[in-house]
């Protein structure tokens, strides 16, 4: 992995090149390109905002387990800005939204692009200030963490309402935003568990501390599988019980029609049943290979659920979807490997170890 060590400038160039390739892919594979772009945007924004949110939540609550993972989790924060610019490109693909022909006061192209872009940029800068403050251990890191979390919830809810829910316009569900930022946090925890498992397996850092961190992150992942099931069920039950035609259409299309029904049950299995059963035992939480597998299962679950949200309303292109996912995964790996450079604090001691 040391071959991937780059300096900050090269890293920026690589990010811009990947941004260019993703935009190029949308033109090489024009069929269903809007849906593919939405999938890439909604999945990776959840990951990069979620990891920073996990670190911020750890700081806001003065928890110790976040200490050894802080730099690793915060390394992804520049990608929020990357996602913001990638989002601007969605402006050329607005025809995926059913309200594009018939715009109203909330859902119109300029306001849609402005409010989401501005929120993403604000959350990037807050993440940046927070990351600086917490690595210097400055006294106002708690305040910045809370401020970041506020904007994280705000922008992630708007991602849910604007980018995804408006595909089903005029269908509405007030819980949609909650599900999205909860899932984003869940994905962030899965990444934290992945990193902890990687450290334990390769014997990096203090093993007794890292084993504890692995157990804590695995416990959190287990807990959030229940939280996800709770939120999902509360959305499902209300729609099922109300049985109103304008509300049920969303669920019926996804539950009873092939191939979406497979994705529907698969996402329940991957996001609730597999992590719940897999991490319930005390011993399973400290086996790095097992935790890594469950964390990957959770990430796959979030990805499949994003497909389930978008695919019935906007067609996707398989090739560009796979290529974009691989490219984004590579970019995240690059930022993880270069975390010391990204943070610009190489050589400084971490205080809260």
């Amino acid at each position: 992995m040391s071959k991937l060590q780059l300096n900050t400038f090269t890293l920026g160039i690589v990010a811009v090149i990947i941004l260019g390739i993703i935009i190029g892919l949308e033109y090489i594979f024009p069929h269903g390109s809007g849906g593919t772009l939405l999938l890439t945007l909604t999945f990776w924004i959840a990951l990069v905002q979620g990891t920073v949110a996990v670190a911020a939540a750890g700081d806001a609550t003065n928890s110790k387990w976040i200490g050894p993972l802080k730099k690793e989790l915060l390394a992804f924060h520049p990608l929020i800005l990357f996602m913001a610019f990638l989002f601007l490109f969605l402006g050329l693909k607005m025809d995926v939204f059913p309200w594009f022909e018939n715009q109203n006061r909330w859902l119109n192209t300029p306001f849609f692009l402005t409010r989401n872009f501005v929120l993403l940029v604000i959350s990037y800068f807050l993440a940046r200030f927070y990351a600086k403050a917490t690595l210097r251990n400055s006294p106002n890191k708690g305040n910045l963490a809370v401020l970041y979390l506020f904007f994280f919830v705000f922008s992630e809810s708007l991602v849910a309402f604007d980018w995804v829910m408006s595909l089903e316009y005029p269908w509405v569900s007030t819980l949609f935003g909650g599900i999205f930022f909860m899932e984003s946090f869940y994905a962030g925890l899965a990444i934290a568990a992945l990193i902890a498992a990687y450290y334990v397996k390769n014997g990096i850092e203090d093993q007794t501390v890292m084993t504890k961190v692995l157990r804590d992150t695995a416990t959190f992942t287990f807990g959030f599988s229940l939280a996800w099931a709770g939120l999902f069920y509360s959305q499902f039950l209300v729609i099922w019980y109300g049985n109103l035609p304008e509300e049920t259409s969303y669920l019926v299309r996804r539950m009873h029609y092939s191939p979406y029904d497979i994705l529907f049950y698969l996402s329940i299995f991957l996001l609730f049943i597999a992590p719940f059963v897999g991490l319930i035992s005390k011993r399973a939480k400290v086996i790095p290979n097992w935790v890594r597998m469950i964390a990957l299962v959770v990430l796959a679950g979030v990805f499949i659920e994003r497909i389930l949200f978008i695919l019935p309303d906007a067609s996707m292109n398989v090739f560009s979807a796979i290529l974009e996912t691989v490219l984004m995964g590579f970019l995240l790996l690059l930022f993880f490997v270069n975390r010391e450079r990204v943070m610009g604090y190489a050589g400084t001691e971490r205080s809260d170890r």
């Binding site: 069920y233 499902f236 039950l237 099922w240 019980y241 049985n243």
Partner: protein, 144 residues
């Protein structure tokens, strides 16, 4: 007479406890008194896992079956169709079943705790000596 070590700091206490166990003293002979729960002690003394979890499992499973049976039975006993839903409408009953699983699991765990620690018996509540905020290790002497 039992041998006693008294500490004011947690880490000194844990260090001494580790040294004692390494020094060959059987963990069964060591008694510790701490002002608050210290989980490292369980790891050092290798306390066997308590059978309490089987009470929890039993309670949770009985709650699950009771909840599922009770909701279905009450609806079938006086069948009223509400909102066009089937008589035994599972999605609505899941919540009652879930809550009863937790309730029974919790209550039976508590009862199991009372049984396993032979409570409520006045003799077992509290220690004869008050140690305040000190960490104490007591080693039982050979004679006892």
């Amino acid at each position: 007479m039992n041998e006693q070590f008294v500490f004011g700091e947690k880490h000194e206490f844990l260090q001494k406890l580790k040294d004692l166990v390494k020094g060959g003293i059987s963990p069964k002979k060591i008694n510790v008194f701490t002002p608050y729960p210290v989980h490292e002690v369980e790891e050092i003394l290798k306390v066997p896992t308590s059978p309490l979890r089987f009470f929890t499992l039993l309670g949770a499973l009985s709650g699950l079956f009771f909840g599922a049976w009770f909701t279905a039975w009450t609806s079938l006993d006086w069948p009223l169709i509400g909102g066009g839903k089937p008589i035994v409408s599972v999605p609505a009953f899941v919540i009652v079943t879930f809550e009863l699983t937790i309730l029974f699991g919790g209550v039976i765990s508590f009862l199991g705790f009372l049984i396993l620690s032979k409570l409520p018996s006045p003799k077992r509540i509290g220690t004869p000596v008050e140690h305040g905020n000190q960490f104490v290790i007591e080693i039982q002497s050979e004679g006892k």
